[in-house]
């Protein structure tokens, strides 16, 4: 892809710092997205007999995205930036993982059980809070919040849809 051309420019012997891998991946992703949008907007039609078509504005935006990603690629080859400080992978994995599980089981287990387990995981296992404190906060955050929202704020939250729990209306 177009990413290749600038690399040849900085071939000279000086050992310049090279762009970080995460930056390269991001640049490729933005470029691909931009090209996809350009293609998609052409499909939608830039212009109709009535005037501007559905694809005109996305086309312009896809063009901006592609162009800027290209400039970024060039900039990065000349003067690689240092990405921000490293992130903590365990934190990310735990939060994303638990949220994905939560969102998946929410319709089945209902808000109260799912959130009770979610909060217990974060408080008892991750934050290493004592059992009593963890339980109190988790119950308040699941059962308590459920009733606060459904009764107090009239905002309905999901209830369990599978037998043992749905029978008792959790």
């Amino acid at each position: 892809m177009t990413t290749e051309s600038p690399t040849t420019e900085i071939a000279p012997t000086q050992s310049r710092p090279r762009p970080a891998r995460s930056v390269l991946i991001a640049q490729a992703a933005f470029l691909l997205l931009g090209l996809y949008v350009l293609y998609g907007s052409l499909e939608l039609g830039l212009w109709t007999t009535l005037g501007p078509g559905a694809g005109l504005f996305p086309f312009a935006m896809g063009a901006v995205l592609t162009l800027m990603s290209l400039i970024w690629v060039v900039q990065e080859q000349h003067a690689p930036s240092t990405p921000r400080e490293e992130v903590e992978l365990s934190q990310i994995a735990a939060v994303i993982g638990s949220l994905l599980v939560l969102a998946t089981v929410l319709p089945f287990l209902g808000f109260q059980i799912a959130l009770l387990l979610f909060l217990m995981y974060h408080l008892r296992i991750r934050a290493r809070l004592g059992w009593v404190k963890s339980l109190i906060i988790s119950v308040a955050g699941s059962v308590g919040v459920f009733y606060l929202f459904t009764l107090g704020l009239k905002v309905s939250l999901p209830v369990a849809s599978i037998p043992p729990f749905s029978l008792i209306g959790l």
Binding site: L44, T48, P58, M61, S69, P83, V95, L99, I137
Partner: protein, 501 residues
């Protein structure tokens, strides 16, 4: 006296006990969001939008506005006591605010900040009252081409000021616009970029996107081991500033009000720009400038006043032209739209009662906040003592509820998670988040005005350079975008990262 009558009518609505309660809850929540480290004003307001959907329009907007300016108060507390800004606009307050804490004048700094915020906020609201009618009438003259040009200027200004690289800011801006494109095209009715999914026909919910990008990514980016210093809540007696401190902060507050209010009117300026420039003004004009950085009270009074004058002043372009000036206001605008209110010149014509009630509530909110903040400092500092993992778990709980209740489906929870990862990646790559929020909310409006303009001119782009106002604005936007090429440097005070992004 028409305006006064309208305003009095607004007060009558805003002073009913429900609306007072909403304003009170909003102020409380806003201050808390400002104090909490893991959640800023943008995500905070976005999170609470779904909860207000079942409330009446006036009450919900009053509450969200109160949250919005409450955060500017709350952010000060951590800046002064902990040397870590709770939210971006109060970052400069750390210089002198924390220095004052080390000198044992934390209480005085907090009181001066609260009073300054009150002064700035109230004067800016008076400005809003005065400007609402005339500007609203002017706003009615703004056609689609002018609207498009104004929005473009706002976005480019934010892009130019956010972050270090204009290229990356533009990437962020175009991403926001592209996310806004997903769904049914507003003019022709064709589905765009829905990948065949029925759920995406309505578009990607902006609340889920913002909560993910701003809120969740913040929690994901947290690294353990950054234990804050011990916090000491100042006792009540030390809360009172002495006479010299009052005298010295008055001129700083006056300057801060001017700067904040003036910049608040310009689309694309964020509160942090105001507080930074106000600090710059103190460094130039204050009689005690040599003490700045070593605990000078001006360094707290000026930026804090500017910050709140900005927050209230920034509501003027929203109310009169329908253009949000900063990311937080863009989210607020999203709330207006969800309630079926269209901010802009027609707001005063069609929903004048609601508009005036909201304006009146701004005065009430400013009073509430000063009452809440000064004596309750102890309560706010005790929130800071709660260990971060517990706070994070509870914030996650509310994020899930917020995302779920937009359309009552877990699909939006997944959307939020996905955008949380995107936000984390953007933070890691130093791509500013602020332009994305603004374009996300403004995208549909921008596209509509572009296409309407082209329909007026029957498909000719002439309409953008034959109308003088439109042409001037677009030239300004072009100059702003090209400023790095033209070697125009941004002011030195703004050179560091705009932390609101």
């Amino acid at each position: 006296m028409d305006v006064l009558n309208d305003l009095m009518g607004g007060f009558a609505t805003a002073l009913t006990w429900q609306n007072l309660l909403f304003a009170f809850i909003g102020c409380l929540l806003g201050t808390m969001i400002g104090v909490l480290p893991g959640i800023g004003p943008v995500a905070g307001v976005a999170l609470l939008i779904p909860l207000t959907l079942n409330m009446d329009a006036t009450g919900s907007i009053i509450m969200l506005c109160a949250i919005f300016y409450g955060t500017t108060y709350g952010g000060t507390i951590t800046s002064v006591l902990l040397n870590t800004p709770g939210e971006a606009a109060s970052a400069v307050t750390t210089f002198d605010g924390y220095a004052m804490t080390k000198l044992g004048r934390a209480g005085a700094a907090l009181t001066i900040a609260a009073v300054g915020s009150f002064v700035g906020g109230s004067i800016a609201t008076v400005g809003l009252v005065a400007a609402a009618k005339p500007l609203g009438e002017l706003g009615l003259l703004v056609g689609p081409p002018e609207f498009f040009a104004l929005v473009t200027v706002g976005i480019t200004l934010l892009v130019a000021l956010a972050g270090r690289s204009i290229v990356r800011a533009l990437i962020s801006g175009s991403l926001g616009l592209l996310i806004a494109m997903v769904g049914i095209d507003p003019v022709a009715g064709a589905p765009r970029f829905t990948f065949g999914s029925e759920r995406l026909l309505d578009g990607v919910s902006f609340v889920a996107v913002i909560v993910g990008v701003f809120g969740l990514s913040e929690i994901l980016a947290y690294r353990a081991g950054k234990t804050p210093d011990a916090i000491h809540a100042p006792n009540l007696r030390s809360l009172l500033p002495n006479r010299t401190e009052w005298r010295r902060s008055a001129p700083a507050m006056a300057r801060g009000t001017g700067i904040g209010f003036g910049l608040g009117l310009i689309p694309g300026m964020t509160g942090s720009v105001s507080s930074l420039l106000s600090y710059g003004a103190e460094r130039k004009f204050s009689r005690y400038r040599s003490e700045l950085g070593h605990g000078a009270v001006e360094g707290v009074a000026g930026p804090e006043t500017a910050n709140n004058a900005h927050a209230n002043g920034a509501l003027i372009p929203l109310f009169t032209l329908g253009i949000p000036a900063s990311p937080t206001i863009a989210v607020l605008m999203g709330a207006f739209l969800q309630q079926g209110l269209t901010p802009g010149p027609t707001l005063f014509a069609e929903n004048s009662e609601i508009a005036w009630a909201i304006i009146a509530s701004l005065f009430i909110g400013n009073v509430l906040l000063i009452i809440l903040n000064v004596p309750l400092v102890g309560l706010w500092t005790s929130i800071l003592k709660v260990p971060y993992p517990i706070l994070a778990a509870l914030i996650l709980l509310f994020m899930v509820i917020g995302a779920y209740t937009i359309h009552f489906t877990v699909f939006d929870v997944f959307v939020m998670i996905a955008f949380g990862v995107l936000g984390l990646a953007m933070r890691h790559l130093d791509i500013p988040l602020a332009p994305m929020v603004l374009t996300l909310v403004l995208g549909p409006l921008m596209e509509r005005s572009l296409r309407e303009s082209l329909e007026i001119s029957q498909g000719s782009f002439e309409v953008f350079y034959t109308r003088p106002i439109t042409a001037t604005l677009l030239v300004i936007a072009l100059v702003i975008v090209c400023s790095p090429l033209l070697k125009l440097r941004k002011p030195k005070v703004l050179a560091n990262d705009d932390p609101e992004s």
